[in-house]
Symmetry: C2
Subunit: 357 residues, 2 copies
């Protein structure tokens, strides 16, 4: 990228994470920020966002530089986006239009048509493992001249009403290159930290070992996110409702976490076993419902494949035994089917007892 040019950024997904992401960028003032708002578009266009943020205070009628109703609208403006940031849920088994490769497609193609020599950087601020693969399989990396960046975001931020964001936990983001040998991606990740970090407000760090970080986060998500989603319980209740207050921890959480550590090891990624204690204890005494549990209770599809399906595929490929994780997966697949039916994504015929295509 030319140094004199202010990078242009588009954020797709205007939930609790996406809006704070746009706000952090705008606060820094080193980029031009577009946000794809979709369902809240009319409200935000007229009234802007109402934000109550522990990092940035109370904001009324806040807007980023540009808002768009769809990714297609953003792409049709004739603007090159140096960073295409996706903050939606990653649900490869969900509706076609919500798959990550389809979300970025209009903007990546538009960038390519504007200037094929200029580098696009796709930043996925999403859960799970192997989420970059469908992009690499869909778009030739040389032809479309892009890098893929990983964002691991820790932020207690929720859209509590239309155009209304409530952030209660300080934002911390780790950004790095999905492909460890891609030096251009590393540079882009470092530049992103530079246009994102607001000292004394949020935190942003370059992540030199993305896969390691993602597997580490998966220790929590694959064990605790999944279990609580299956039962529909916050973490403290899930722990206390076990046999003698112990079986959830010692028969599910900890063995499942160990299975993730074994799968990661089979990929050459050595995780610190201390994470098991940390993640088991992190919300033992704190009322917290992980995201998959929240999704299930809202009747929305869960990020099941990227959190559990993909790690299990890797385990199978590498010959790692995963009795607990596999059982959780095969149970959650049924729950996901129930959610799909409730959302009209599949139809079940009670006469033939079969899914109708």
């Amino acid at each position: 990228m030319a140094s004199e040019r202010v990078p242009s950024v588009v954020v797709v997904g205007a939930g609790g994470v996406g809006v704070i992401c746009a706000l952090s960028l705008c606060t820094k003032g080193k980029s031009e920020v577009s946000l794809v708002v979709r369902s809240d578009y009319n409200h935000v266009e007229q009234k802007g966002y109402q934000i109550d943020s522990c990092d940035y205070g109370k904001l009324d009628s806040w807007r980023p530089h540009h808002i768009f109703k769809t990714a297609e609208d953003a792409a049709s403006e004739g603007k090159f986006f140096d960073y295409i940031i996706v903050t939606t849920k990653n649900i490869p088994d969900g509706p076609v239009h919500s798959k990550v490769e389809n979300i970025i497609k209009p903007m990546l193609l538009n960038n390519h048509s504007i200037d094929a020599t200029r580098q696009s950087n796709i930043l996925l601020i999403q859960n799970g493992i192997d989420i970059e693969k469908s992009i690499l399989e869909t778009f030739d990396q040389k032809e479309y001249n892009y890098t893929i960046l990983s964002g691991i975001e820790i932020v207690g931020s929720t859209k509590i009403a239309t155009g209304t964001i409530h952030q209660i936990g300080t934002e911390k983001i780790f950004v790095g290159a999905f492909q460890p040998d891609d030096s251009r991606a590393k540079e882009a990740a470092k530049q992103f930290v530079d246009i994102y970090l607001n000292e004394g407000q949020n935190a942003a760090e370059f992540d030199p070992r993305v896969r390691h970080s993602r597997w580490n986060k998966l220790i929590y998500n694959a064990a605790i996110n999944t279990t609580t989603a299956l039962i529909g319980l916050d973490v403290p209740r899930a722990l206390q409702f076990g046999v003698d207050g112990k079986s959830t921890e010692f028969e599910i959480f900890r063995p499942a976490m160990k299975e993730i550590i074994k799968i990661a090891a089979s990929e050459g990624i050595i995780l610190d076993e201390a994470s098991i204690d940390i993640f088991t204890n992190i919300s033992r005494n704190l009322m917290f419902k992980p995201s998959m549990c929240v999704d299930r209770e809202k009747g929305q599809l869960m990020e099941l494949e990227v959190i559990l399906g993909n790690p299990i595929s890797i385990a199978k490929k590498n010959g790692v035994d995963t009795p607990i994780l596999s059982n959780l997966y095969f149970l959650l697949v049924m729950l996901q089917g129930k959610l799909k039916e409730a959302n009209g994504l599949i139809k079940f015929d009670e006469e033939t007892c079969r899914i109708v295509n």
Copy 2:
């Protein structure tokens, strides 16, 4: 029992099973039948039952010989009950008064005080394994002079409204002695078949090997009842919503069934593996929700301990590995905790994140 005396029977539990049980006995006309009605008492006392039965036709204002509001009321009439039949759910982790040993207590004690030399026969028409043990542990069998009979009931009967019973499936009951060496129990079971069987209407058979039959039924209940309860799905959907329509069957149902067969074998009970196919296919193409699933959806406690907890205890004692069943159990224990909290049986303090005693 003296042959000239008509046996006196009390049925505790007036749901779909209990009312048809009383009706079968009354139709035969060889016993004096009392029914403990509890919640529907006032309605039934005034208007009797409205019954639509595939076995006995449409009945209006039907009543057995006697109705009582509680087991205590039944016991206080000064009447000796030759058969004490329990058709309630068996939930040892439920409220104290609903434990089976407490349900039968007033009548067994009353029988004992009326005539300690006369034999009481306790017939448990309930799901699960080892359900006779709490009775044997609570009441000395010689002192209280009782036998325990096992009833396995197949009947599509439901209480669809207050005092209103709808029976769509012909009743079939298998009755035998829980204790295989108890010849008095075997005689009592055979006599029961005699006072119960209405040729051409219902079916009743003496069961010479009770534990075998119960373990066989457990093949279905421990695998399919449990899984569908966990997700809240009927059996056909549970099967079809698996990965490629297969994982529920091949990764959960069939392996779980095999574990039950292994546990039974460790107890010297050799089950026919053909049951796995039979039970997997029995409701593949038939909309059906097993009882634990129905209970969960009604917000009622599930028969988790007698269907899954007890077999797993036996497996542990005998060194049988049960990865699938144990995982289902530790998940369902959390769901049972959620149901207990919703029913006010436990309290959870969100400040301390602990169950309050």
